[in-house]
Amino acid sequence: MMVREFVSLALVFSFSCVSAQTISTMTLSGTDWMSVQDVSQVSDAGNDLSNVIESATNQNIMDIRYTTSILILGIGANPFRIEVRKSDINWNGSIIPAVRRTGGTPDNSLLDILSNPSSITGGVNYQNITNISTTLFTGYGKVDNITLQYRFSGISLALPADDYETEIIYTMWDNE
């Protein structure tokens, strides 16, 4: 009797685990941001360009889902970590790019009985973006409408006039 129950339970759990489906998606919408600095940005002869310029507060919008559905246990919110780095196309080291999170809505409609509810933490203050990947924010499960704002500092007419461009790369990691 005991053996039979154990085997039955094992089968159920095995089936559940075989049926476990993990979804890990990150979408990034919105447009590239290219700030044009021309004569209209100089307030008076002799003045410099604004040293600090910012994009729209929702220049890019990220949606994240990192969940696991297990047949009899429901849908669990898994912990994720978002890192950010840049890969320079044409850049000048005097220009410092930074990014911050200006929004983000956890979706707690998940039937979550295994882990924490969906959530998002950190990233609300500007963080400089370097060529080394660093954590921007962490969270659990499904978070939508994560709005991202960029900032450049170090803009100046003392820099050679040119098009400076860099690729901002976001990576989503399991944060177990």
Binding site: D38, V42, D44, A45, A158, A161, Y164, T166
Partner: protein, 186 residues
Amino acid sequence: MNKNLNIIVFVCLMMVAVKENLSAQLLVSQSKNIGVSIGDIAIMDIEPSGEIQLATSSISEAGLGFSQPLAEDQSKWINYSCSDRSGNTKRIDVNVTAGSIPDGLILKLTAANYLRSGDGVLGISTGEKVLTSAPQVILDNIVRGYTGSGAGNGHRLTYTLEVDEFGDLSESSAAVVTVHFTITDN
């Protein structure tokens, strides 16, 4: 008792197995480009605004000449902001575009080298120029940058009025001339 223990152990093993599959993985990556485009800029002014007067004094005693220079003014400053995507340098030309300098007198202008709060690779003085209607370079080799705005920033201008030919002098109440500055590509 044994049954319960087996169940607990099994559940734990299964949960560990599920969690192991999820640990420390790069899940997905996305990117966007950002950048800044610094365009061609050339903007210049003279600070403070308004006219200057170069008043001469009369000769105090018969037989004496004028002391040179007759008058001098250092109240004006050239301010500019510029950049050039092609890498061309710029210069600032100066000439008289209206009015005439009285006979026997010359009006000289010097732009000093840059001073104060700007940054960049700024213009170099070409020294003292005797102003005429023909444009002359007063600052050259401006690469890029900004001088700072307002009096006390940029390149100080020194106007001097001198007697050139005493014999050509004639009594005159006032002569007004317009001095024109142009920032242009080399």
